[in-house]
Structures are given as C-alpha cells and as structure tokens.
C-alpha cells in the first residue's frame, strides 16, 4: 500500500490500537513552556504520578517574558510567579530548561529546530498550537491542551484518532517580493480557517522544495490557522544540511544512518490523500490581512471583498475598514517583526535588505524581536543590527512578545499594527489593537514608509 509521509511517521509510533477507539501514539519529544504546563505538573503531583521520561522533555520560557532588561527580575508579579513555577517544576522533575538569559533560550518553535532537537520522522508535541512549525522537518508535530501535556508527562503517549490527510500543492515560480509568509497567507485566504480541521496537511510542489528551512517553518507554523492540527514537508537535502552540526543533532555515523532512514520518509508516488488542492505560484502576491482571522487576507494590490454577513461586518467594524477599500496608503503606527512565524535569521535578513540606507518613519514604533538568543547573536554577527540602528530601530530580546501581548509589548487600543505574527484575532496584540498580518518585507517597508505600500512596485 502506498503511504504518505504522514502515514509513515504516524504508523511507526502507534503503540496500540484500541478497538473502536483511539490509538496510543508514542511521543518522541515534548516541548513545554511556562503558560500551559503548570496545571499539568500540579495534576501529576496531586495524583502522585511521576514524570515518565523527563529526558524527552525540553522546556523554555517564552510566552510572558519581557523583551527588555531580561537580566533584571521580571516586573509583572503573575509572570514572575509563572516563570518561577516552571523553574521549580523542571528542577524537581529533572527536565532541561532554557530559562531567561540562557544562551539557548528562545521561542519554543525557534529554539528546538535550531538546536537540532527537531528531526525528521519524529513525533513532537507542545502545549501550543504553533507546534505545527516543526512539521517543516517531516516531523509529526502538533499542539495539545494541558490535560494532554499531563498525559504525555505520565506516559510519553497520547490517545488519538488518526487524522485524515490533506495535500496542498504549490508549483511554479514565485514573483519577486513574495515570501513564504505570503504563500501560506494566500493558501489560507483561499481555503478558509477551517478547511484543514480534522486533517494533517502535507505541503508539496517545487515552491516548498526550493524553500529554506526557515521558510518551510513559516509555512508549517500557520497550518493551524486553516484548522489543520499540523503541516509537514518531506525531508530532503535542505533538511539534512540544516540539521547537520546542530547541538543535539546526531553526529558521524549515527547521522548517516539517520539520513538513510529520513530518505525513506517522503510520500510514495501514487499515495492517495483524502483532500488535495493545487495552486499556481505565479498567482501569489505579497499579502495583507484586513479582518480578524487569518483567512481574511488579500493581495496587497487588491481591495477588501464585499460580503454580507454579520460576522464579516463585525470583523470590518473592529478593524475600522470598509468593504471595497484598498489597504494601500493606510497609515500604520506600529510594526512588529517577530513571533514563531517570522523571527528567524532569514526574516531579519529580508528586513535588513530593505531597510539598509533608509530611515524609520517618524510615526512608527517598531518592535524587532528575535526568536531566540542564537538568532539575536547572529543578527549582531552578520552586522544586521548596525543596519537597524542606523535606520533608527532597536533590537529587543527574544520572546513571543507582541504576538499575543502577554508581556508588556502591547499595541494600544485602536492602533493598526503590521505584524509578522500568525493571528489577527480581536485583541490578540492588546485590547482593541488592530492587527494586519504580513511578511517581514511588507512589515519592514511599512516601518520605513509609515504606511502600507505596494512593495512590488519598488521591486519591479
């Protein structure tokens, strides 16, 4: 029987099948952070259940950490408590923690891949829906709730129904200025926010084959925004080259053995998916969102569609946009480059290439937040920080930051923010804040111009 990439990885992890019920799926790596783990630890403690495989768990502090003055005690008491709780729980249970200030600290979905923790053919979970990011390596990776975090603590397994399969194919040549973020925002705008619910998605086609690992992570990251629990891309030479030499990657002969196995993982020719979509790369342009879910996106040159539904109108009302309106020339006072979607070195290279020799617009407050300590260091090493500083920008310290505004990085009420993050939900970046999702290139251009411009006009 012809198997998909997903089938191969899933089937290799089934411990047991329950008759007329779910399967017991083995989890190779469990990533945790301060927000969705404390209740799982206390549940185990109350029930006197030990953590089963502590060496398969890696923890980081990212969601509510400040992005300035990380060497000082965290000001917010609740955040400080939650971080202290994580340290205590990790210490008690012998779990590796890359806490604030550690050289490996960073957003969980940036830190694990860059350390070589994420590898093809694995199953990975985390109490965070953007765990789908790791699928870029040909990994089954998905977000779980806190009860499931406790289940993995207790048994290194989960009880799951095998999801259905979906493949999104994008072939052809991308236009200048179209980045991986635009590809995924385009796909979601076409398929909607629930097309993937109940499915695991594979991205295939030359567009993904030619993407860097950073780009593939951006794409897989947003799988959940079309409802899919996870997204995957077949591992290939790009994947192997990225992993080789990373801190926790297999070394020497062990690496070669792994690569030989990883090469068997791609979907067999002729394997059948439950649902399949095809897109032409040439149709994609830089994208922006205009509404309050990631499916409400348009090409930057297009106008907001005219639709009559109470939910659509509620959304436009929140954004203070009109049906049929263009977003070009929209004044924007806030720009955020960061989040597990776009805070890797490549994203800052793209931003720097646009910003070099230009000046930040006076009306703009911009937050450039690297995804990890390693990315921050690389920004300095590559001289990108000088470019940012010369243009009037200041780099902040790593964390989730204004993506979900759990820390002090909140966009004020009523303000627009062009953001490289993944969600434009009401209040996501602060109460009353209005988020416009875009690529790092569009975000950089907005920070320089102080308004949304058609970036393609400058590139052509």
């Amino acid at each position: 029987m012809k198997k998909t990439l997903f089938d191969k990885v899933w089937d290799a992890h089934v411990v047991k099948e329950i008759e007329n019920g779910p399967q017991i799926l083995y989890i190779d790596k469990h990533l945790i952070h301060e927000v969705t783990s404390p209740q799982a630890f206390s549940e185990l403690e109350q029930r006197e259940i030990p953590v089963f495989r502590p060496n398969q768990i890696v923890a980081t502090a990212d969601h509510n950490t400040p992005t300035v003055d990380q060497h000082l005690p965290v000001k917010d008491e609740l955040s400080r408590n939650q971080l202290a709780q994580l340290s205590k729980n990790c210490e008690k249970n012998n779990i590796t923690l890359y806490g604030l200030g550690h050289k490996y600290n960073g957003i969980v979905h940036v830190m694990a891949p860059e350390l070589g923790i994420t590898q093809p053919g694995m199953t990975m979970v985390c109490g965070d829906s953007h765990t789908s990011t790791h699928g870029a390596f040909g990994t089954i990776a998905f977000g779980i709730g806190t009860s499931q975090v406790a289940q993995v603590f207790a048994s290194q397994c989960l009880l799951l129904q095998k999801p259905k399969s979906l493949r999104v194919n994008v072939n052809g040549t991308l236009k200048a200025g179209v980045l991986p973020k635009d590809v995924i925002l385009y796909v979601i705008s076409k398929l909607g926010t629930n097309a993937g619910t109940g499915y695991f998605c594979e991205y295939a086609g030359n567009v993904f084959e030619e993407m860097s690992m950073e780009g593939r992570m951006t794409v897989c990251n947003m799988s959940i925004e079309m409802g899919a629990r996870g997204g995957m891309i077949a591992p290939d030479q790009t994947t192997f080259d990225y992993i080789q030499g990373k801190e926790f990657a297999p070394k020497g002969e062990e690496f070669d053995k792994k690569v030989a196995y990883w090469k068997t993982l791609p979907t067999d020719q002729g394997a059948v998916f439950d649902k399949e979509y095809h897109f032409d790369a040439a149709d994609i342009e830089p994208m922006v969102t205009y509404g309050t879910n990631p499916g409400m996106g348009i090409k930057i040159s297009e106008t907001i569609p005219v639709q009559d539904s109470a939910s659509f109108e509620k959304s436009l009302n929140y954004m203070n946009f009109e049906k049929g309106q263009s977003l070009l020339d929209q004044k924007v006072n806030y720009v955020f480059i960061g989040s597990c979607t776009n805070s890797r070195i490549e994203d800052f290279r793209v931003a720097a290439s646009y910003i070099k020799g230009k000046q930040k617009a006076d009306n703009v407050t911009a937050w450039f937040v690297p995804g990890s300590q390693q990315v921050a260091q690389q920004i300095v090493d590559e001289g990108l920080n000088e470019i940012f500083e010369d243009a009037g920008f200041k780099l902040r310290q790593p964390g989730c930051s204004a993506c979900l505004a759990m820390n002090d990085d909140k966009i004020p009420e009523g303000e627009y923010c062009v953001s490289t993050s993944n969600r434009n939900f009401e209040g996501r970046q602060g109460q009353g804040a209005r988020t416009i999702l875009a690529s790092p290139l569009v975000a950089a251009a907005t920070a320089i111009e102080g308004k949304i411009i058609d970036i393609t006009k400058q590139l052509n």
């Binding site: 927000v35 709730g145 109940g198 959940i224 509620k314 939900f425 109460q431």
Partner: protein, 197 residues
Amino acid sequence: MDKFTKLTSAAIPLPIENIDTDQIIPARFLKATSRDGFGENLFRDWRFHKDGSANTDFVLNNPTYKGSILVAGDNFGCGSSREHAAWAIHDYGIKVVVSSFFADIFKGNALNNGVLPVQVTPEFLQSLLQTIEKNPETQIEVDLKAQKITEINSGNSASFEINSYKKTCLMNGYDDIDFLISNKSEIEAFEAARVLI
C-alpha cells in the same frame, strides 16, 4: 472529571462565526498556575468594557438568556491550544456547547474537562438559534447516551457524533491518564523494540 449523561436547560445564543480562544479567554488572563477562576474572565473583552463595566449588549449580560448550554456560530474554538478556554467555559457553568463546527484542539480540550461539544448541521443550528431568540425560555435536552439534542417544546431533534471511547469517558467521568498508565508495559515494550529515532 465531571460525569455527563443528560442535561435539560435553557440556552444562551452567540451566533458569531469563528469564535477563537483569544475571545473565549484573552492571553493576559493565562498567567494563573491553577485551573480555577477562569469563568470570571470568559469572553472578557466582549463582556466588559475596558473600564471594567459590563457591556449590556453582550448576551452573557442579558438576563433574558440563562442556562448551561451555549449555542454558537460555525468553527467555534479556533486558534490557540489554550485549555484555559475550556476551563473558563466549564468554570462559568456551561456544560454543553452547540455549533455547526468545532476546531480540533478545542473539541479535545472540552471533552477532557467534562464539557460536551455538540456538532449539528448549519440548518439545525439556525433553527435552534431562531427558537431561542424567539423564546429564551426554550428548554433543550442533550442526551449523551442517545447522542441526541432535542428542543423540548417542538420535539425538533438532531443526532450528534461522538467518539465511543470519549463517550464512555464522559459518561463515567474517566480521564485518559489512568488508561494510558494502565498500558505502561506495552509502552515500555514499544520503546525497547524501536531501532531508529
């Protein structure tokens, strides 16, 4: 976990599509380290103005609508995996959420907390919403054993799907941890037999 078998209650209508977990419980309320007390911030930014006063236009502040069944628009619970959303709903006293579609992670989180997600057709959802809006006292019966939701007065009913394993868990108040631990020897055997990864 609470057991769930059958419930008869009035319902609260919330006919908005794509209600994401950031609306159900905004991120700034996720800093607690226990599961309790999230109900007071359920739908916080729709329920209260920024100054903390109640938004009287929002259905939870409308005394006309009461009950432990929430009837919501399509694709309920999309977005973040935060189980705090299910905790907030449960803590507020909602036992059943009815919608024409649920996001995956939310559905699992709800079931793990004794909250039953009932998925019905868009047509049934519309008729249910209209009935509740016309007569807020309308009693709705949700019978898990029979997998059936019924408007008591009209007798209008629909069946709903639920995984048989999860149904057993919910009806008996079991959770997955005990079941997984009871399979520990098989899990260890699986680990021992693995060659790669």
